[in-house]
């Protein structure tokens, strides 16, 4: 007689009543998800197998979406502050009152000086709406969080190659044989990177991780290069040095696809020194060996020189930019020995890495049997590939030398012929675009007037000093001083300076600060404690120095109690939303894609989607584009209506969504609005994608089939070759200004800084904080890493994720700690030039010996996020932010931003500290702030969470529910 199991199990229970597809928002990756609903509640969230980003997988954050949606920290009704800022004294008000109040405050500003509104939107995924709204309002004072995230990466990429890492590019996981990754946050493209690393390893490719810290991705690398923070540029330029010395560069690629042959004028002391020589039509010139004369460098029929000094028709001398480049980096200043001193990476290792890279690129060249036609109409039978791929993110971006370091990396890629060739870095649609995209920031004098929209968007790409946003006296036009001489190429704005500048009234006081989803009173601020003081500071008349603060967020963050008017947002499962190609795209190397969010559940609170609210305010303010001529709303259906019917520019057929355009939904990219568009997205799992034909998959910057596709889709204006920029001429224009040329002149105290850092060829220099403080007093670098299972601060309200990262430690190299008499689990003081914190250490081997680090944004202010004030996030968690100043120490009577001098990117990772054992005392981190109060309408947090119990009980028809109290 056989055995039987002691219970009978239903192995085919009903999973869900309904499955709704949408797009995740648990971090920035924007994966496709399928939300299973059972009995009106969320049963399960899984990855969407058809989705181009995640292909069915889902990370820890995405899998914890249930707990985000049902978080007890959700706001539930508009709130108006009735006590002092920070006191938590709010009263609940109706939406109509909230919107009337906001409209009153905003229209006062718009009627008089629109610049007095600063509108900054944090980790916003609807920037094409919010930026447009700011433009229609008429204020240049708009940006999202890019300035404190990775603008160095984006700007360096866009000015160099018309694309960049992460959102605009990806490694060729299928063909690369050698992959080098620099400092990547584990929440950027995280599922594709994890999948890609597995593919590389299956194929036996080598993966080198360059990162001071050996955590997730670096832990599985073949080789870990535990570099010192802020020195990656020196390593990369030493690799360039080695390749040039050995003549291991792809000269054919350089002459065809880059500005290597473009002639640079040699006329020191003149206003054109270092600029490209151009013909009467503005075309850059090269020296053509075939004709023995200078000729248009854009002609496909020249045989351009890469060396020599050539005579221009006007008699001036000029040299190919590549000759300048080669001479520069062949110099011993860029030797591996010199780089070893800076980086801590042995010279022999740098030499070996260079040899391995060259070997993979040139001895392992690959050739795909795919015929293609180049921009000039010439057919090529194969696609030649250099199977060396690079990828980088915030680790090299968040330094004051980050722009030039990212530039160095792109120059290395170009020298290897490893841009959009098989096995290398590949552009993601809709990139590549022009280097940089032809978009200038608006906000100059005359472009900001009461009751008028600005003539262009607030953010763009300056090509020289004439594009800066300056007053006649040279001072900044924007509240954050983006596009001023302190940060001329601040293409994402500088949110990290808004509160400080507004508080200081420098360059001018503002009236309304309007923010969305940015935790500026805590982990999104440099100098968090100081920021809190600025938010609460009053003038002599008793008025807050930042008079009115409107804040929209879904949750009770540390920032909410400091606002005057709270506009509660929905969760990501309760709204229409858009992942647009006008904004931050999710296309891949295989073709364009975009996506939507649809409401999976209806809000059970009196909350509204922020984008609906913004459009509503636009109507109440009468903003052009948001109201019809008769004053009625142009998008009465709110954001969903806008997604379908907004066109930019009007009548262009280009809108927020590229899929199923045209009256019958048959068009892609361009086409008249389709009233069924959202339904088509929903039918297709809430995304749209298009596969490029094989002939258009590589060499996109010079591939006729691709360029014509890009024109048809509206990504670029003309199907012309996008010439990659080894030498970035706009940098030289700023430098010439610093030398006294031109009408737009920097203030004297910034001339040397501009001259030194705006090199049109990449350079490495020590990060500013490293220069400003002494090594003896502050011998260690301190950086943060992003855990794979937590996104910024908002993961801490998540009952499941906080069980993984409920507190953080200061990780130290074991030998470094031993030398300081610090043992595992000791409490220590960490001191910077700006402040001191107390925290607990954890010793490890896998960290650079001159670096300490911790997980980002785990420390919480007691009471925030509706956590118990005794939560470990508040008791033992900590932030490095308290050690980081938004300004550098005073020098020559000036305090400059703690930021990249070119882009203004916040230099979080330049922090220098000393670590000392703390005397015996309470095991509590410092600084500790007064616990935040719980606000009206915020729910009760349960003492026990039995999520799923009701679903199970219903499934079992009452049997199996929990018995007892």
């Amino acid at each position: 007689m056989g055995w039987t199991n002691p219970e009978v199990i239903d192995t085919s229970p009903s999973v869900s009543d309904e499955v709704k597809a949408t797009t995740c928002y648990m971090c920035a990756c924007r994966c496709g998800i399928r939300v299973h609903l059972k009995d009106g509640r969320i049963r399960y969230i899984e990855g969407n197998k058809a989705h181009p980003v995640n292909k069915g997988v889902l990370c820890a954050k995405g899998s914890a979406g249930i707990m985000q949606h049902y978080s007890p920290a959700r706001l539930s009704k508009p709130l108006l502050r009735v006590g002092e800022r920070g006191s938590g004294d709010f009263k609940e008000i109706e939406w109509d009152e909230a919107l009337r109040l906001a409209t009153t405050w905003l229209s006062e500003v718009r009627n008089t000086d629109p610049r007095k509104l600063a509108f900054f939107t944090g980790r916003d995924q609807s920037q094409s709406l919010t930026g447009w709204w700011a433009q229609q309002f008429g204020t240049p004072n708009f940006a999202a969080h890019g300035g404190f995230c990775s603008v160095n990466m984006a700007a360096a990429g866009l000015y160099s190659i018309g694309g960049s890492f992460w959102e605009f590019g990806e490694p060729d996981w299928e063909h690369s044989r050698y992959f080098m990754m620099f400092g990547v946050a584990e929440d950027h493209d995280s599922n594709p990177i994890k999948a890609g690393l597995t593919r590389l390893k299956e194929r036996g490719a080598k993966y080198v991780a360059v990162n001071p810290v050996r955590t997730a991705y670096a832990a599985v690398a073949d080789e870990w290069i535990g570099i010192r923070p802020g020195t990656d540029g020196a390593l990369v330029l030493a690799l360039v040095h080695e390749l040039l010395k050995a003549q291991k560069v792809d000269l054919d690629f350089l002459v065809r696809y880059t500005n290597a042959p473009w002639l640079v004028i040699e006329a020191p002391g003149t206003a054109e020194h270092g600029l490209f020589a151009r013909d009467a039509e503005g075309r850059p010139l090269c020296f053509d060996h075939k004709s023995g004369a200078v000729a248009s460098a854009l002609s496909p029929n020249v045989q351009p020189a890469l060396s020599g000094t050539h005579r221009l028709p006007d008699g001036r001398a000029a040299r190919p930019s590549f000759a300048l480049l080669a001479e520069k980096y062949i110099d011993g200043r860029y030797s591996p020995e010199a780089a070893a001193i800076v980086t801590g990476v042995p010279a022999a290792t740098i030499r070996r890495l260079a040899a391995e890279i060259a070997h993979a690129a040139f001895s392992r060249q690959i050739e795909l049997p795919i015929a293609w036609t180049d921009w000039a109409g010439r057919r090529h039978e194969t696609m030649i590939g250099r199977p060396v791929a690079f990828h980088a993110m915030r680790g090299i971006s968040a330094h004051a030398n980050g722009f030039q370091t990212c530039r160095a990396l792109h120059v290395l890629q170009m020298l290897l012929g490893a841009i959009d060739t098989p096995g290398a870095f590949r552009y993601k649609s809709p990139y590549p675009r022009a280097c940089p995209p032809p978009l200038k920031p608006a906000g100059k004098p005359g472009q900001v007037e009461p009751l008028k929209p600005m003539p262009g968007p607030p953010l763009g790409f300056p090509m020289g000093p004439e594009d800066l946003l300056l007053e006649a006296d040279g001072s900044a036009r924007r509240i954050d001083k983006a596009y001023s001489w302190e940060a001329p190429v601040a293409a994402h704005g500088m949110m990290h300076l808004v509160i400080r500048n507004a508080w200081a009234g420098d360059p001018y006081p503002i009236e309304v600060l309007f923010m969305y989803m940015a935790n500026m009173a805590w982990n999104s601020a440099m100098n968090s404690a100081g920021t809190i003081e600025m938010l609460t500071a009053k003038d002599a008349g008793g008025r807050y120095r930042i008079p009115r603060i409107i804040y929209a967020d879904a949750f009770l963050s540390e920032t909410v109690p400091y606002a005057d008017l709270i506009l509660p947002d929905t969760t990501y499962l309760e709204r229409w939303d858009c992942v647009s190609m006008l904004d931050r795209p999710i296309g891949s190397a295989h073709g364009p894609a975009d996506a939507i969010r649809q409401p999976v559940l209806q809000p059970d609170r009196d909350v509204r989607p922020f984008q609906d609210v913004l459009l509503d305010l636009g109507v109440r303010l009468g903003l052009p584009g948001m109201v019809k001529e008769d004053g009625n709303p142009r998008f009465p259906g709110g954001y969903a209506d806008y997604l379908v019917n907004h066109e930019r520019p009007p009548g262009s057929g280009i809108g927020p969504l590229a899929g199923w355009r045209g009256a019958d939904g048959a068009k892609a990219g361009k086409g008249e609005p389709n009233p069924d568009q959202l339904a088509r997205y929903v039918e297709n799992g809430c995304f749209w994608k298009q596969e490029l034909p094989e002939t258009a998959l590589y060499y996109k910057h010079a591939n006729k089939a691709y360029l014509e596709h890009a024109v048809a889709m509206g990504f670029i204006g003309k199907a012309e070759q996008i010439v990659l920029q080894l030498y970035v001429e706009p940098m030289q224009k700023f430098r010439l200004a610093a030398d006294g040329h031109g009408k737009v002149q920097p203030p004297d105290h910034l001339r040397a800084r501009i001259r030194e850092h705006f090199d049109p060829l990449p350079i490495w220099y020590p990060p500013f904080e490293h220069q400003a403080v002494s090594d003896a007093a502050f011998p260690l670098s301190a950086v943060t890493q992003r855990p794979a299972a937590m996104y910024h601060s908002w993961g801490s309200q998540n009952a499941w994720l906080r069980q993984i990262h409920g507190e953080n430690r200061l990780f130290m190299n074991r030998a470094t700690a031993a030398a300081l008499g610090i043992a595992d689990d000791d409490w220590v003081y960490v001191t910077s030039h700006h402040g001191r914190i107390k925290c607990q250490v954890k010793l490890m081997e896998g960290v650079n010996d001159r670096t300490v680090w911790t997980w980002n944004a785990i420390g919480k202010r007691a009471g925030a996020w509706n956590l118990d004030p005794r939560a470990p996030e508040a008791r033992r968690g900590f932030l490095l932010n308290h050690l980081i100043a938004e300004l550098l120490p005073e020098q020559g009577g000036h305090r400059l931003p703690n930021a990249d001098p070119i882009t203004g990117q916040a230099a979080w990772y330049d922090l220098r500290v000393r670590v000392e054992k703390a005397p015996a005392g309470a095991a509590v981190s410092e600084p500790a702030f007064k616990p935040l109060p719980v606000l009206p309408g915020v729910g009760r947090r349960p003492g026990i969470l039995r999520y799923g119990e009701e679903i199970r009980a219903a499934r079992l028809g009452g049997r199996g529910g929990r018995s007892g109290p």
């Binding site: 056989g2 039987t4 199991n5 002691p6 239903d10 085919s12 399960y44 969230i45 197998k49 997988v57 889902l58 990370c59 820890a60 995405g62 899998s63 914890a64 050698y178 995280s190 599922n191 994890k194 597995t198 080598k206 832990a219 599985v220 073949d222 050995a246 291991k248 065809r256 042959p261 351009p304 020189a305 890469l306 060396s307 000759a323 080669a326 030499r351 070996r352 040899a355 391995e356 060259a358 070997h359 993979a360 794979a788 299972a789 009952a799 994720l801 074991r814 490890m844 896998g846 118990d868 939560a871 947090r941 026990i944 969470l945 039995r946 799923g948 119990e949 679903i951 199970r952 199996g960």
Partner: protein, 246 residues
């Protein structure tokens, strides 16, 4: 004490690839959300927003370092019930609540007869059992018994949640009793091993060790440094003088 059924031919289990696991916790959290409302629901969380949040998790990822200095490495080690062929957690059970399934070898707990005595968690050397203090019963990985045979799911989804969600494809599910199965072949090819074989519980789940790391000189035939080329006529940049066409 509970007896084991005769060994089943079918031995369902997991194969976990430590070469590519980056310790991202996707498997742990997706397991948590599936099972929160699944066969053993709920996976109670005590004090979820408080000082000592402490919940039931069937799958946990342990991250640690092994070795010292240059020889050290960071290890990410996901761990759940290994569905042993001879599980002490079953034989120690006084009520028969802990049992090994006849047909596929999955180790389960019958909540109706579990008395919460915790003997099984003491017996399990892997720490894979999870006591639900609120419900008063022992819970554990079910290998997603309510997914893998579930006819309401598409065939491709009839795998444990942890396998389905793993971004790195570090987790594989199948019949380790069948030497021809994909998972058995993977174990054979990659040298898959038993966790703590000396305990003799014969875990069905296997771990794949990290592949040989390609560090140091000689990768793919590459030299350890680049040779200086012969000096070209025309000075430092003379090598650039060859004819190049756009």
């Amino acid at each position: 004490m509970t007896s084991l059924p005769p060994p089943s031919a079918r031995k369902l289990g997991l194969v976990i690839d430590l070469d590519v696991c980056v310790g991202c916790h996707a498997c742990a959290v997706n397991c948590k959300e599936w099972n929160a409302a699944g066969h053993s629901a709920p996976l109670t969380d005590l004090d979820p927003y408080g000082a000592n949040a402490n919940g039931v998790w069937f799958n946990r990822v342990h991250s640690f370092e092994a070795g010292e200095g240059a020889a050290s490495r960071t290890v990410h080690f996901p761990k759940s019930c290994l569905h042993c062929e001879e599980p002490a957690c079953v034989t120690v059970c006084p009520t028969g609540a802990s049992y090994k399934r006849v047909e596929d070898g999955i180790v389960l707990v019958n909540p109706d007869t579990c008395i919460g005595c915790k003997l099984c968690s003491w017996a399990c050397p892997y720490g894979a059992r999870e006591f639900d203090h609120d419900a008063g019963v022992m819970k554990k990985c079910t290998l997603c018994i309510d997914r893998i045979y579930n006819e309401n799911l598409e065939e491709a989804d009839r795998v444990p949640a942890c396998v389905s969600t793993c971004p790195a494809s570090a987790r594989h599910f199948g019949d380790l009793g069948d030497p021809g199965s994909a998972v058995s072949r993977l174990v054979a090819e990659r040298g898959g091993y038993d966790l703590m074989p000396e305990m003799c519980y014969k875990p069905v789940n296997k771990y794949l060790p990290p592949r040989q790391r390609q560090c140091g000189a000689g990768h793919d035939g590459a030299p350890s440094s680049l040779a200086a080329p012969e000096p070209a006529p025309g000075g430092l940049l003379g090598w650039l003088d060859r004819v190049l066409s756009r």
